[in-house]
Every structure is written in C-alpha cells, then in structure tokens.
Amino acid sequence: MVRAVVTYIDRRTGTAPFVRKTLRYLFPDNWSFLLGEVALYCFIVLVATGTYLAFFYQDGTTQVVYHGPYKPLEGQHMTEAYRSVLDISTTVKAGLLIRQTHHWAADVFIAAILLHLIRVFFTGAYRKPRELTYWLGVTMLTVTLLEGYLGYSLADDLLSGMGLAIGYGVALSIPFVGGNLAALLWGGPFPGTHAFFARMYIAHVFLFPLLIATLLVAHLTLVALRHHTQFKQSRRESERKVVGLPTFPAQTPRSLGLAFGVAGVLFLLGGLVQINPIWLWGPYHTYSSTNGAQPDWYLGWLIGGLRLMPHWDFVIGGYTLVPNPFWGGVFYPLAVFGFLYVWPVLEQRVTGDSGYHNLLDRPRDAPWRTAIGAGILTSVVVVFLAGSADRVLVLLNLSYASQIWFYRVAFFVGPLVVAALTYRICNALQAGDRVERDRRLAEREGRAAAGET
C-alpha cells in the first residue's frame, strides 16, 4: 500500500529524493527546541477557530437594541458587532467554546513566542548564518501583538473600546505626524467612520494572518535550509556534524503529540476557564468607562509605561512636540524591539565574532549576552508589573502612588542590579564547570594509572 502511494506520487512529481531527504532530516533533541513548535500549533488553532468565528461575526457599527437570551442586557443599545459576539457567546452552540479557545490560543501563542525568543536569545541561536531567521521571528512577534489587539477590539465591549481609544491617543502622540496618522487610520477623530470596524476586521482576519503565515513559511524554510542549531552534549556534535532524531519515524509522533497536546490544553482552557466575558462588561460608548480596565496581557507593558511617565507634554512655541503617551506607548516598545533587531549585528561588532555558529551556547557560556538580556527582560517585567499596580492595590492594600514611585526607580535600578548579578552567576557557574571537568579528568587519569599497575 505504502509502496503504491509512493510510486504514484514520485511518478507524477519526481519528489522521492526530496521526500527521502525530508524523512531523514535531523532534529537535535532538546525540550527547549520545541517551544517554537508550540507557537506554531497555537497559530494553527487560532486560524481554525478564527475561521469558525468569522462565519458568525458581524463588523457593523449600527446601533441595535438587544432582545435575546441574556437578560441583563435586555433593551440595551449596542453595536451590531457587539451583538454578534454576544450571540456567539450565548446562542450559537459551541460558540462560546470556540470563542474562548480562540482567545486563550492568542494569549498562549504570544507567551510561547516569548519563551521561544528567550531560548533563541540566551543560546545565541540568532548568530550567523541565522540572522534572517531571527529577524523574521522578531517581525512576527511585532505583528502578532497588533493582530491580537485588533482581534479583541473587534468585540466592541467596554474594556476593548477603552483600549481602542487609548490606541488612538497613542497614535496621536507620535511627533509631527501623529495627528495625520490617527486621522488617516480612523477616518477622522475617534471613534471614526463606520468603515473603521470593517477595516479592522479585514486586517485581523485576512491581512495580518496572511502576513504572519508568509513570514512563518519563510522562517521555517530558513530553519530547514540551514538545519537546526544544537547544544554540544557529546563528542559527536560539532560545527559540521548535526546529531538528532530523524523526521520519520522518531520526530513525527513527538511533534504530532505536541500538536495534539497544544490543541488539547487550549480547548480545555477554552471550555473550563472564562476569558473576556464581554456580556459582563457591556457595550462600549465613548462616554463610558470602568475601573480596572486592562489590555490583554501582552500589551501590559504599554499600560505600565503610560502610567509611569510623569505628566510632561513637551511643548515648544505652540507646537506639542512630544505628547505624553508617546513615551510609554511608542518610544519604549520601539526601543525594546530596536534592541532585538540590532542585537545580532551589535554583538558581532563588539565581540568581533563574525564566524559561523551551529553550536549553541549555554547561557552561562556567554556572560555578557546573558547579563544584558536579563537586564532588558527585567526592565520589561518591571513595566509590566507597573501596569497592574491598581489591582495590586485592591488585593494587597499597597498605596498606588508609592507603587508608581517604586516602579519608576526599579525601572532604572532593577536592570542594572539583575545584569550585574547574572554576570556574576554565569562566571561562577563556568568556574564550577571548570572544576568539575578538571576533577573528572583527574579521576580518569587516576583510573588509567591504577589500571596500569
């Protein structure tokens, strides 16, 4: 049977050599190399559940009056968009499951990308010849942040509507062109034309997924062309020899198992843990708001930045050069992504190491890189935490104003302290390794000597 299929296909496509090579392509085996795959499978779940949701969502902004099964909104005014999401959540069978799975998948997707990025960064996998792969990945991260933001804003509930208003404020705050850009995107001042939601919808279900998919295909192709990096775990691995599991039969059930596992976890979350209960928030109006509104977790560093900045609008003459939200909403994210993009080139210049690297560093083997990366990560985490300071206040009774000051100081001090600490820990670990190696060498020599006599 197998032979019949293989023969049929090879006769019509000539791909048997290619398939043979693919079947024996080697995957170096380390658990941390599977994180990228986790992200990939999350993306597949997103596309599948998203397609289903697109059949039921309506992107209209015409106001309607609700008469439906959810009584606490009976008789209320809301947009068609909100109403359609409400119907998916209450009337469409399995609609709430698919909707929640879709949203959990988005949250976990970006978490997985971040874990994958952390692994890639701290092991130096982005070095030559894989800079292009790395840059594609960072670009994908940027695009998915925007894609997620647009996605949950489509529901037009109170929380996401406030988030859109803030997005408008951040767009406006870009020096010189902010007003033009915001007016262009929204078709006028907020809340914009009726077409705005339609454009958001097309961007979310078509333009950005297409972009992500294209980048993803390029990313995976490059990984395959140059083969995967590996840790040096034995004498066999080297810059020229890759050691790993073949695609078939070893890697296939592993990858498939991971795929089903990811889907399983996401559907479990989608059914068991409530996420974004838009029926509780109510519909959005520009003149309404609620306490405790937050963006989805991956934009938490933006709300933190917006809250931490002291109240300066930089004004020269009558010109508002830099409105306040620019720093937390645009400047800081640009700085962090700029660092990520520039780092491979920067590291090459500073270390003078422009060689080929197929072998990975353990984080301790590159103390400078690990320390700097840890420092940058610390600053991002501090800003994240600052974004949830008001909920911490309600939970733990810690003064909000004091927290803000704490985080302002921690933003500068924290990364330096963590970087210094990390550097020392790396060096200490390396020293320990050297001692261990010397000890084993001595033992071996001792045994050899003992064997001789």
Partner: protein, 261 residues
C-alpha cells in the same frame, strides 16, 4: 382609702411612663453609648468637631488604644440612615481620624446599634433607614445605571477599584440596605446621589444589579475574579504556558549537565 389613692396615683404615673420607655429608653441608652464611643470626635449632641481644635490621636475604646480624640462631621440631621450604615458595616468607629472608613468587624451588637441609631435619629429630623426592593428592579436597567454612575470607581462587576487617594471597595458583602444607604450618603469621597438624581425605583434596579454581580452568569467556566486581562494573563502563563512547557520537557530530552565527552 389613702393607700388606694397612692396606688391609683402611682398607676397613673407609671402607665404613661411605661408606655414612653421603649422609645425614650432606647434613645437614652444610645446617648450613653454615644458618650462612650463617639463623643470625643463627633462632639456633644452630634455637633461635630472642627479640625483646628484637636490633633489626631489614634484608637478608641473598642480598638486597642485607650483614648481617642479627633475631628469629625456633625451628625445632626444625618438620620437613622447614616447611623445604621456606618455602624452595621463597621465603618465606625474609625481606627484613627483621617483614614478612609473600611468595612471591618462590627464590635457592637444589634441592640447597641439600634440604640445608637435611635439616638442619632433623635438629634434632628433626618432620613430613615431605607428599604429597597430589588425584586421590583430590572437588572438590565441596573447594569446601565451602574455603568453610568458607579463602574468608574467600583468596576463594572463591582469588584472594587482605585481612585486617587481612596479605594472604592468591592461590593460582594454589601447588603441591599447598605447599598441604598451608601448611595444616599456618599461616604468618604463617594458622590452622593439624591432621589432627584437616582429615584427609588432606579435604586431598586441598581441594588438588583449589584446582587446579580455577586454571582453573575459565568457560562465560560472559572471566572477568575471577573477582573479581566490581569488574571487571564496569569492563567495563560501559569497554567497554559506552564502545561505546554511541561509537555515539551516530557517529549524532548534534557541536557545532561554540560559536556560529557
């Protein structure tokens, strides 16, 4: 004959006295309690104490410290409504002046509270304890009104929040009467909504909504506090990402502590 006259006289005096005593007895008892727990800050006859005349000292006889003297608003005309609210929630007595009153352990018993309330009500005419009827209200209208007037501070599902300088509390322990009282008083920095702004019928709807918000429709599963993205992010990382990382560890191989060769 004289003994009979005395008995009749005594009866004539005693009966009206007995008839008057439940009310006046309660107020009298309340006055005694007032003198014990409230006088030092709220002044004699509920006239209030201006800030300029005293400095802030901590504690009252109910809260560990021995002496309390401070400043506080006058209580004349606040009525049974305010007294009932502050006492039944434990907002009063305050641990020290200048702090936001918070829901705390009620250290007075029902009888004491009734007595104090009667006394404060007797100081000057004021609003009586309200009796809201949430069963007559509409949850849908309540959500709309709550979003307009309350959600900015208390959060749309009444989980509490922050306003510069104060902490609007979550409302899960608020009884319908306490909600109605708070709306009409505006304690600490909360706005005060009179019947002109929020009618009694609208108040019924708001109370009905807050009751709903204590156990709202959680068709999606575990509600993780109705707070939105912050707990959702925690779940995404600590349950979702953690489970998947664990899966990766099970499937893949771990590094064997450095070079073995």
């Amino acid at each position: 004959m004289r003994r009979v006259c005395i008995v009749v006289l005594l009866a004539l005096v005693a009966v009206p006295a007995a008839a008057a005593s439940p009310g006046s007895g309660l107020v009298h008892r309340g006055k005694a309690l007032y003198g014990q727990y409230c006088l030092a800050c709220h002044g004699a006859n509920g006239s209030g104490v201006a800030k300029t005349s005293v400095q802030r000292i901590g504690g009252g006889p109910l809260r560990r410290q021995s002496r309390q003297q401070g400043y506080a608003p006058p209580l004349r005309g606040v009525g049974a409504l305010a007294a009932d609210f502050y006492l039944r929630t434990g907002y009063m007595p305050l641990e020290h002046t200048g702090m936001q009153p918070r829901r705390s352990r009620v250290l007075l018993d029902d009888g004491q509270i009734a007595a104090l309330t009667a006394y404060v009500a007797s100081l000057a005419p004021g609003p009586a304890v309200p009796h809201p009827h949430p069963e007559r209200g509409s949850i849908s209208q309540g959500l709309h009104l709550f979003t307009d007037h309350c959600a900015g501070c208390h959060q749309v599902v009444a989980e509490g929040g922050y306003v510069t300088g104060a902490v609007p509390p979550p409302l899960e322990n608020a009884t319908p009467t306490q909600i109605a009282e708070a709306v009409r008083i505006g304690p600490y920095v909360m706005p005060r909504f009179s019947k002109k702004a929020i009618s009694d019928a609208q108040l019924d709807s708001i109370v009905a909504y807050v009751g709903y918000a204590k156990h709202p429709d959680d068709n999606g599963g575990w509600a993780i506090g109705h707070l939105g993205p912050v707990p959702e992010g925690l779940v995404a990382w600590l349950i979702g990402a953690a489970a998947l990382v664990a899966l990766c560890v099970v499937i893949g191989r771990r590094m064997h502590g450095g070079e073995t060769g």
